[in-house]
């Protein structure tokens, strides 16, 4: 452990010349992001590049700001009264917080899956069709049917629900509901999918299915996942970022973070000494 990491200042480790290349440019590049809730600072100066077609895991103890940071990426924090975001989050060369960006369009490009499955109180079909419909992504009924089928297949739910697309989405089991929510998210053809502890309300078997799904989705999408489970982060992610008290302590390849963390706090956390 080197001396500079022992202090309390933010330590952003230099990009390692590791196995996983970032490609030409990160899909989303966060620079010096600060978040305030009614004047109280929750995120301190976080800079984090997010590579495309891979899974980035945000880990850290409860209340460390990882969910808050995740919600910055599709401006979901706009819906919270008294919340203010500073700094730049660059996507395709533009800051998503700039006034020229329409948050509604942004959210159709950066989808989100929540902690608790939240299917709409509509049929399974309508849950998926809702997004494409409001964005005019389908030409007609057949086109829409196709989108629904494709998304359900991609979410690994098609075989289970293909005969009952007209039953309410809320009648599915917890794990099925969460896969429905993932299908709903990919139906609007996002480029990035944010997942806020997507398995915390699920049993181990349902969790395993979601994890498989995430690994599969990685081939097409840029995925950012917040998770409490160290094992899950190790299993599904290629990149990991450790948050503590609103600060980004360390980031790097998942293998490196878990086998040879540079910061003492990261090591303490992943070995279970606190958090």
């Amino acid at each position: 452990m080197d001396g500079s990491a022992a202090g309390n200042e933010v330590v952003v480790t230099p990009e390692p010349a590791g196995t996983l290349a970032l490609g030409d440019a990160p899909r989303m590049d966060c620079r010096n992001v600060n978040v305030f809730y009614s004047g109280k600072q929750a995120i301190f100066d976080v800079s984090l590049p997010i590579p495309d077609r891979s899974v980035t895991a945000l880990i850290g103890p409860s209340g460390c700001g990882k969910s808050t940071f995740l919600r910055c990426l599709n401006r979901m924090n706009d819906t919270i009264e008294g919340c203010r975001v500073e700094g730049e989050i660059i996507m395709d060369g533009k800051d998503i917080n700039s006034p020229v960006i329409d948050p509604v369009l942004l959210r159709s490009r950066v989808g989100m899956v929540f902690q608790k499955p939240n299917p709409f109180p509509k049929t399974i079909y309508e849950n998926i069709a809702y997004g494409p419909r409001i964005h005019g992504l389908a030409q007609g009924r057949e086109d829409l049917d196709e989108i629904v089928e494709k998304c359900l297949k991609r979410a690994g739910l098609w075989e289970e629900v293909k005969d009952r697309l007209t039953v309410p989405g809320t009648s599915l089991s917890g794990g099925q509901q969460q896969r429905l929510c993932i299908a709903r998210a990919i139906a609007v053809r996002p480029e990035v999918i944010l997942m806020d502890e997507p398995c915390s309300a699920l049993d181990p078997i349902a969790t395993a299915r979601i994890e498989e799904l995430i690994d599969d989705l990685r081939k097409r999408y840029c995925i950012v996942i917040v998770t409490h489970s160290m094992q899950q982060a190790a299993r599904v992610s290629q990149r990991a970022a450790f948050f503590h008290l609103g600060k980004l302590v360390e980031m790097g390849d998942t293998d490196q973070i878990f086998t040879s963390p540079r910061d003492r706090r990261t090591e303490d956390y992943i070995t279970g000494r606190f958090g």
């Binding site: 989100m112 709409f120 997004g131 929510c181």
Partner: protein, 471 residues
């Protein structure tokens, strides 16, 4: 001195007696408990206060029972006693005549020192007063003896192992149960009296004539066809909901989805104050502001339509009181019922659903219209139904602003009358309680009760199903 005591208001005396007995009981119980509570090695089962409350409870039970019995039976008992002492000359009176004579005697006896100058009546009244005094004194004695015995018995049971606390807890449960039962019993009683009187009415007027007849002239006992009243009630409630449903709903959507915390903190209480305004004040407003405005508008339309060549004569009745005026003001009155309840159900839709909608790129209004409102729809329907039943039962506004003429007219500017207005008209002023005229008011009341009951039950059922869905 005791004869004077017998002439004090008895209800008051009995309540004082109950309070004194309760205090005595508590003190007696507690004092005895203290003698063993801190004395022996053994720990007592209950705290001294529990022992006190236990004795208090048993001192109160006979006193309260006798108080209730007194309220119910003292007067009939005294009258029965008096009747046996009446001179033989009274036997020429029929049962009914005798009953009303005794009623008059009882009323006179309540006004102390009333002398009519009619010798027989005054003598009978004086005797009745004496009898009542005796009954009162006997009641007081009975309270003292029974409560005293009960108190002493309860006190004798106390001891270190006596489970006073358990008894007090179950006594409290009984008391609470009786309070709940009282509310239910009152409802049952009201319904029973409505049904009973309505049956007397339907014995005179066939139910089909009442329900389907189109002519209403109850004041002269001439015609009892209630259809015009149902029509008037329906029409005015319809106008009321035409105002209240959209305005109330949009207000609720604004409050729950768009208004910031500061705006909401100011607007919501103000909107709810609207519900606290006495309806008679709305009545003024309807009578003085809205009704003349409706009339002026109707008159203007009448002349304009002729000018434009669309009509050859006046189209609207343009009465000084009108269904439209009453309906509009009633609509304003029920806005808070719609908005407040709808606001609650809309706010109860989980935030996660809104988040889900935003996360697929829905705009605010899309999320509200397509996700939040459909989820809250059952609750909103319930709110509307409750508002309707409120509008149907509303009385004061229609009494002041709708008029008294029973008729079926589609013209909103003509005057109409409603079920509630007629009930008021039939039961105020001089009325004997066995003419069809007064009895018809009960039949109307029964219809009103049943209709609002159905609306409320449906609304409650809908709300309950909605609650199950979101915990």
């Amino acid at each position: 001195m005791f004869s004077q005591l017998g002439h004090l208001p008895m209800d008051f005396l009995l309540i004082v007696a109950a309070v004194i007995l309760a205090s005595l009981g508590f003190i007696a119980g507690r004092l005895k408990a203290e003698t063993f509570a801190f004395a022996g090695e053994e720990r007592t089962h209950s705290r001294p206060n529990s022992h006190g409350y236990y004795v208090l409870m048993w001192a109160l039970v006979p006193a309260v029972t006798i108080l209730l019995a007194y309220v119910a039976f003292a007067e009939p008992l005294s009258k029965a006693w008096l009747r046996r002492e009446l001179p033989a000359g009274f036997s020429v009176l029929s049962r009914g005549e005798l009953a009303s004579y005794l009623d008059a005697v009882a009323r006179a006896a309540h006004i102390k020192g009333l002398v009519t100058g009619e010798h027989v009546f005054d003598t009978v009244t004086t005797r009745y007063d004496e009898i009542l005094g005796t009954v009162n004194l006997a009641t007081l004695g009975l309270v003292a003896v029974l409560s005293g015995v009960s108190l002493a018995w309860a006190r004798a049971r106390l001891g270190p192992r006596f489970r006073a606390r358990v008894h007090v807890e179950s006594g409290l449960e009984w008391f609470l149960f009786l309070c709940a039962a009282l509310a239910i019993a009152t409802t049952v009683g009201i319904v029973a009296s409505l049904v009973f009187e309505s049956m007397r009415f339907f014995a005179v007027v066939p139910a089909t004539d009442f329900l389907f007849g189109t002519e209403w002239n109850a004041q002269t006992n001439a015609a009892f066809g209630a259809l015009p009243l149902f029509f008037g009630t329906f029409m005015i409630s319809f106008f009321a909901m035409l105002v209240a449903a959209p305005v109330g709903l949009y207000a609720a959507i604004y409050l729950s989805e768009y208004a910031g915390a500061k705006v909401r903190a100011v607007v919501k209480p103000i909107l709810e104050v609207l519900a606290g305004i006495p309806t008679v004040v709305y009545g003024f407003f309807a009578l003085l502001v809205i009704a003349p405005a409706v009339r002026a508008g109707a008159l203007w339309l009448n002349t304009s339509l002729v000018e434009w060549g669309l009509a050859h004569g006046p189209v609207f009745a343009a009465q000084p009181t009108s269904a439209l005026a009453a309906g509009l003001v009633m609509g304003i009155m029920v806005i808070p019922f719609v908005s407040s309840l709808s606001d609650d159900v809309i706010s109860a839709v989980p935030q996660s659903l809104r988040d889900g909608a935003y996360a697929v790129g829905a705009t605010k209004s899309e999320a509200v219209r397509q996700i939040v409102l459909p989820a809250a729809l059952p609750g909103i329907i319930a709110a509307l139904l409750l508002a309707v039943s409120r509008a149907i039962g509303e009385t004061m506004i229609v009494v002041m602003a709708a008029g008294h003429r029973a008729r079926i007219s589609p013209d909103p500017t003509s005057d109409l009358t409603t079920i509630t207005v007629q009930i008021v008209a039939l039961l105020t002023g001089e009325s004997e309680f066995d003419s069809p005229k007064t009895l018809s008011a009960f039949a109307l009341g029964l219809v009103l009760f049943l209709v609002t009951l159905v609306f409320n039950l449906v609304a409650l059922g809908v709300v309950r199903r909605f609650r199950e869905k979101y915990e």
